[in-house]
């Protein structure tokens, strides 16, 4: 049962972290006060102050391997089944991520910490093993994206990866969650670069509308083919992954959200969902011309997509695409390395807040920067099997998701910690459906891997 701390018993005073968080909360409280005449800006200001974790988690999940999955999908299958499919996967992601907002705002604890507290260290360590594997592999792919995206412009790998690491470090220098969040949000909106790239592909809007309404055309040979299943898994893994659960809940806690902010948190998450879905579909639309031009893109990396697109959508479009991949990798490197540091800080009961300066929370920052450094270094090793890591990381994310969702379902239905904010019936139907579909997708992948001949492989 949750223990509460009576006001009079607070002992050793207030920390720097508390004061910074209180300052952020004060801005929200003042923005919420209603005056007789408020401008539109003043009415929207509370929402502006409260958004962040939801947008960052979804656009952070539009990372390099995800955008490359969408690009590969567009190049292989064009505009059809996968357009509504991607939208539905993002809506499934919203169902899941909204629960982390409620968990963080009500319990004021991170996801890893709650798992360890409620399930014990045995199950907590299992969760952490999945997370660490997923985190590290995903971080590697982000630096692959950075390297490949800037490779289109002739930037040497060492400078591309080293520069990205410096930027990951640089945004931490303010040691304020608010500043880190606003800088990364600013970076996140460059994910929109895929939209003008898609427009330069001159898509036929009627075809997109038809695809959204009818889920057709289906991939040739149907969806139960090994290649198609792999892309389905990769696209699902591009929207629902374990690190998202941990990141958004920790960010909600670090931001200081409270139960009365849940509605704003939900709006933030939906905004992130819709923006990321739009940008993901844009990446698919941008590369669809490669299919119609008969260009085989099965083994393409980011720079190759951009180079192949150049004669089709022009130098500007190709440049936007390459910059988008670079941004996707850089933003995700920042959010994922921070998420891993949050998780370790929570379970090891070490200071773990972006509101703390380096000297107060050096283990937190060491994990954050160390993980980014190790992942970046791996990318610079000659002949490392980077292509396959990119393709498999989203598949791994899908396969590791069901146990993470089970912990989430149990926690968010726990009245001892959630009080009146437990899941309603429809939320449970939604998340259980998502979990069942992920398990089904994983089983389909397993059967295809073991018996490829059953599906023409």
């Amino acid at each position: 049962m949750k223990a509460t701390v009576p006001r009079g018993s607070i002992g050793n005073g207030i920390t720097h972290e508390d004061i910074d968080r209180a300052a952020d909360r004060l801005a929200v409280e003042q923005a919420r006060r209603t005056d007789a005449q408020r401008t539109l800006f003043q009415r929207l200001r509370p929402l502006w102050l409260l958004i962040g974790p939801g947008i960052l988690v979804f656009i952070g999940e539009n990372d390099a391997p995800s955008m490359l999955s969408y690009a590969a999908t567009g190049a292989k299958y064009g505009i059809g089944f996968f357009v509504p499919f991607i939208l539905v996967t993002f809506l499934a992601g919203f169902v899941v991520q909204e629960m982390t907002v409620r968990l963080g705002a009500v319990t004021h604890r991170g996801h890893a910490e709650l798992i360890f507290d409620r399930f014990g260290p045995f199950w907590g360590r299992f969760a952490m093993v999945d997370l660490v594997i997923g985190y590290f592999l995903t971080l590697v792919t982000e630096f692959i994206g950075v390297r490949a995206g800037l490779g289109f412009f002739g930037v040497p790998p060492l400078i591309a990866v080293g520069g990205a690491m410096l930027l990951v470090f640089g945004v931490l220098l303010s040691h304020r969650y608010w500043t880190w969040e606003r800088i990364t949000l600013g970076l996140a909106f460059f994910n929109a670069l895929f939209v003008p790239a898609a427009l330069l592909a001159h898509p036929r809007w009627g075809v997109i509308g038809h695809a959204l309404l009818t889920w057709s055309p289906l991939p040739p040979g149907g969806i139960f083919k090994p290649d198609t299943i792999m892309l389905i898994m990769a696209n699902i893994g591009a929207t629902v992954t374990p690190w998202m659960l941990f990141f958004q809940q920790s960010a909600v806690v670090d931001k200081g959200l409270q139960a009365r902010d849940i509605k704003a948190g939900r709006a933030d998450t939906m905004l992130g969902t819709l923006l990321a879905a739009t940008f993901g579909i844009a990446a698919l639309v941008a590369t669809a011309p490669l299919l119609t031009h008969g260009i085989k893109a099965d083994d393409f990396q980011a720079a190759q997509f951009a180079q192949a697109l150049q004669p089709v959508i022009g130098r500007v479009g190709a440049t936007l695409f390459a910059l988008g991949i670079f941004e996707a990798g850089l933003l995700a490197a920042m959010t994922i390395s921070t998420s891993s540091a949050y998780a370790f800080g929570e379970v090891l009961h070490m200071p773990h807040s972006l509101n703390q300066p380096f000297w107060e929370a050096w283990p937190f920052y060491l994990i954050l920067l160390g993980s980014a450094f190790a992942a970046g270094a791996l990318v610079l090793i000659p002949n490392a099997p980077l292509t396959y890591i990119v393709l498999m990381v989203n598949v791994i994310a899908v396969l590791a998701m069901p146990p993470a969702l089970l912990f989430l379902i149990i926690l968010v239905n726990d009245p001892e910690i959630m009080g009146s904010h437990v899941n309603g019936r429809w939320a449970n139907i939604g998340v259980i459906t998502v979990t069942a579909l992920l398990i089904f997708a994983g089983l389909a992948y397993g059967i295809i891997t073991v018996f490829p001949s059953l599906f023409g492989g």
């Binding site: 223990a3 207030i14 004061i19 102050l49 409620r118 396969l399 149990i410 994983g442 073991v450």
Partner: protein
């Protein structure tokens, strides 16, 4: 200490840089200012001292947790097989 420029309005106290006063009065003032906008269990000191207790897991829940754990382990084996096949096939 505020991270945003705001027109001052009456309301919760603002944590500010301390004038020269006794340490106890300063500490009390800061606590009240912070607690006027934060919930008690949002404080670092409160989180350090309190933990949620262990949840009692039903047999069905344990079976589900173990079942999904076995599922993940099997899937990781399959992924390893897939990766090895691909590497033998010359992926890079």
């Amino acid at each position: 200490m505020m991270g945003h420029s705001e027109k001052e309005k009456p309301g919760p106290m603002v944590p500010t840089s301390p004038p020269a006063e006794s340490g106890h009065a300063l500490e009390t003032g800061r606590r009240e200012a912070v607690l006027s906008v934060l919930e008690e269990d949002q404080l670092v000191s409160a989180k350090a001292r309190t933990r949620f207790g262990r949840k009692v897991l039903s047999p069905g829940t344990r079976i589900l947790l173990w079942g999904l754990r076995v599922y993940v382990l099997l899937m990781f084996v399959l992924i390893t097989i897939q990766v090895l096949r691909a590497l033998q096939g010359g992926a890079h």
